[in-house]
């Protein structure tokens, strides 16, 4: 009897251990954006799909800080990079040199990811050494001036095409307690994007030209753009607290009719349409005069493309699996962006079509073949000194308290 009980007990324990092992999931840490609907919806969708395709994998999310890569660099410096992490151009060179970024060529082929990437995106996905370091999901993205038409109509104003017209609108709006252009200048990229939309009226390469080395900060166009931005700031086009306003505050102002214009990427189309319906549209960036407005109507800020997306830590104990998951997540992001966020500007051809695109997105898609030039967002710049300095410089200009000369001199020093 005792023997029988012993055998039975051992059998029960073995079965228990076996089932525990079978249920054990592999946890992968992922560092990615999870801040608003445009980042939460695709992530949640991808996690849901991952649970079906990889039931043995569990993701542990570390939400990405809006700090221009500072946290990621700190993690890299300490050798604590997560298994999968979202990366931008600025840090790719550093991390690939330090061998903290896995070469994903084989996985991209094996998973079929490479075949699904749009040809226009492949040039950005493949680095100058011929390797793939990140699985992209975002396609070419653009800086848009969003306009609340209802506010312009309410105060009998025309949509401005020149800075003088914009200043005239600001006088009326300010008198009625409305902010003309709401920016979240606390984030350097948003301030830099504002400057870039002005710089592209003089130099179509905008801030990307300096990154590429095709233009110089001492070029006259950059100085004139700086002067224009100071002029707009001093005329009260932006809110007083522009350099300390965050995204939530700036967006709320626009969506609640307290601001007539808003500057953001095209990913904001969905949220703006939901809140303001047909009243919201995007416009060609105003310029310093009518002729230049017409001439540069199709020159856009942003859109340049860059090496970005989900990268993998080669020191991860599950690096191969993490790479597969990163490819999977990126592809599912694209699906979610197309179907749930009405944003077809993605890196991967998902085979899905969305015929319910908001009008603003339809207009943008129609505009794309006419675009004469594009630039880059700050996270698409490879020179980290430049991408950081231009954000600070643009904030100085937006405050209206620095002269254009002061700011350009500082930039000359930074780039020396």
């Amino acid at each position: 009897m005792k023997k029988f009980l012993c055998v039975l007990l051992a059998a029960v324990m073995l079965i228990g251990c076996a089932s525990a092992l079978a249920e054990e999931k592999i946890k992968l840490q992922i560092y990615g954006q999870y801040a608003d609907d445009d980042t939460k919806v695709p992530y949640d969708y991808a996690v849901e799909k991952l649970a079906e395709a990889y039931p043995n994998v569990e993701l542990e999310l570390i939400p990405q800080a809006q700090d221009d890569g500072a946290t990621l660099l700190a993690l890299a410096t300490a050798g604590n990079l997560p298994d999968i992490y979202q990366t931008g151009s600025g840090i790719v060179t550093t991390l690939r040199n330090s061998k903290q970024m896995m070469v994903l060529n084989d996985v991209a082929e094996k998973t079929g990811f490479l075949d699904k990437v749009y040809e226009t995106e492949k040039q950005f996905m493949i680095a100058d050494d011929g390797n793939i370091y990140a699985f992209p999901y975002a396609g070419q993205e653009y800086v848009l001036w969003f306009v609340n038409n209802a506010l312009f109509e309410q105060y009998g104003l025309e949509i401005p095409t020149t800075y003088d017209e914009l200043i005239a609108c600001a006088e009326v709006f300010n008198a009625n307690g409305i902010v003309t252009m709401s920016l979240f200048g606390q984030e350097g990229w948003n301030a830099a994007a504002m400057y870039d939309t002005i710089a592209t009226r003089y130099i179509p390469e905008g801030i990307k030209g300096i990154d590429n080395g095709t233009t110089s900060i001492t070029d006259e166009g950059y100085m004139k753009a700086a002067e224009d931005l100071v002029k707009l700031a001093q005329a009260g086009v932006f809110q007083n607290a522009v350099t300390t306003t965050n995204y939530d505050q700036a967006s709320e102002m626009f969506l609640n009719g307290k601001a007539a214009m808003f500057l953001n990427g095209q990913w904001y189309i969905e949220d703006a349409t939901k809140a303001l319906g047909d009243n919201v549209t995007w416009i060609a960036y105003p310029s310093y005069d009518e002729a230049s407005y017409e001439a540069n109507k199709h020159a856009f800020s942003g859109g340049g493309g860059s090496i970005s997306g989900y990268a993998v830590n080669p020191d991860s104990p599950n690096a191969e699996l993490a790479a597969e998951v990163a490819a999977f997540i990126s592809e599912k992001y694209c699906e979610a962006k197309v179907m749930l966020r009405n944003n077809p500007l993605v890196a991967v051809n998902t085979g899905l079509t969305n015929d319910q695109l908001p009008k603003m997105m339809q207009d943008l898609v129609a505009e794309m073949p006419n675009m004469t030039s594009t630039t880059a967002f700050t996270w698409g710049l490879t020179n980290t000194t430049w991408s950081n300095s231009i954000g600070v410089a643009a904030q100085s200009l937006l405050s209206g308290q620095f002269t254009a000369q002061e700011v350009i001199d500082q930039l000359v020093f930074e780039l020396e």
Binding site: D67, D68, G69, A70, T71, L73, A74, A76, T77, G90, I91, T94, L95, N97, S98, Q100, V179, Q186, G188, Q239, N240, A241, V242, T243, T244, T245, T384, T385, N388, S389, V392, A393, Q395, S396, L398, S399, Q401, F402, V407, Q410, F413
Partner: protein, 304 residues
């Protein structure tokens, strides 16, 4: 006790853990900061030795260096004046047994210290918001035409941020001074009373001089706290507008983590360490036991 103190092995055993911890977590990292300040380094890859180039650029050419030092001085000045003066007044007040609700005030003054810096900055950020902040709205409601761009003015933003720091940490200095006052014997005050000294004179000639060491410590905290200010600046102004609220610590952070230029960032940190050391030496010299006007221990001073 004497037996232990004369035993060198016992001294080594008791002191060694603290020395090892200090060397590992304080001294060696500080040496590394100085070492890497002579390199061009992105924080991850191989560093390249460049001698004094970082120092020449930072001290000799970078316009932000001058601004950062001036900001450190302004920040230190605001928090020193605010914290030391108010903390001393409040501490003397709550130490007086005639004051009612002393326990409540003692707790109330200390509450901001236990709050998170982020919470405090969000709170004051909303108060100081130029567009819809509490302060400007209040002034507007009261018909006072003095709305300010508290956090976005290149000339005054540093004072606003310094005020927030001073507000939060005043309670800490208050606690130190209260503890200092408690350690002063009652007999001093009784003797002063017999001599006919007023409460004000008693505090001037007894409390303040006997708090000298406490003041030395408080001053060290606030002055060095000023030149190494970071958290409030990062949260409330991001060093801006432009570089108007940069400090040496902010330069260090921005160059190291924002531009992947750790060498330059650590140069700023090295200068900061040296500045703090100089300040400590100067303050210790100023507070050295000797006859000074403020802390004079005059023989036979007339307290009446």
């Amino acid at each position: 006790m004497k037996k232990y103190l004369s035993n060198k092995k016992a001294i080594v055993v008791f002191v060694l853990p603290a020395v090892i911890l200090f060397l590992t977590f304080i001294f060696i990292p500080i040496l590394q900061v100085f070492y890497y300040s002579f390199f061009k380094w992105d924080g991850v890859n191989q560093a390249t030795f460049i001698g004094l180039d970082n120092y020449i650029r930072l001290i000799g050419k970078d316009p932000t260096f001058k601004i950062a030092n001036a900001n450190g001085f302004k920040f230190g000045l605001v928090i020193t004046v605010y914290q030391l003066v108010l903390a001393t007044i409040f501490a003397i007040a709550v130490s007086d047994k005639r004051i009612r609700f002393r326990k409540f005030f003692r707790t109330a003054y200390f509450i901001p210290v236990v709050l998170s810096v982020t919470v405090v900055c969000q709170l004051w950020g909303n108060v100081f918001n130029a567009d819809n902040g509490l302060l400007n709205t209040l002034m507007k409601t009261l018909g006072i035409e003095w709305s300010q761009n508290w956090l976005n003015d290149r000339n005054t933003a540093i004072y606003t941020v310094a005020f927030v720091n001073a507000w939060q940490w005043m309670g800490y200095q208050f606690a130190l001074i209260v503890a200092g006052i408690k350690s002063i014997g009652e007999d001093f005050y009784e003797a002063a009373e017999i001599d006919g000294a007023t409460a004000l004179k008693a505090h001037w000639f007894i409390t303040l001089p006997l708090l000298k060491d406490t003041f030395n410590f408080c001053l060290l905290i606030s002055v060095t706290g000023g030149i190494k200010a970071f958290a409030e600046i990062d949260i409330m102004t991001g060093g801006g507008p432009g570089n108007a609220t940069n400090t040496l610590t902010y330069i260090m952070y921005n160059h190291a983590f924002g531009r992947q230029n750790f060498g330059y960032g650590l140069t700023s940190a090295s200068v900061l360490v040296m500045e703090c050391l100089v300040i400590i030496l100067v303050l210790n010299w100023l507070f050295k036991d000797r006859e000074t006007p403020l802390f004079a221990r005059k023989k036979g001073v007339d307290l009446v």
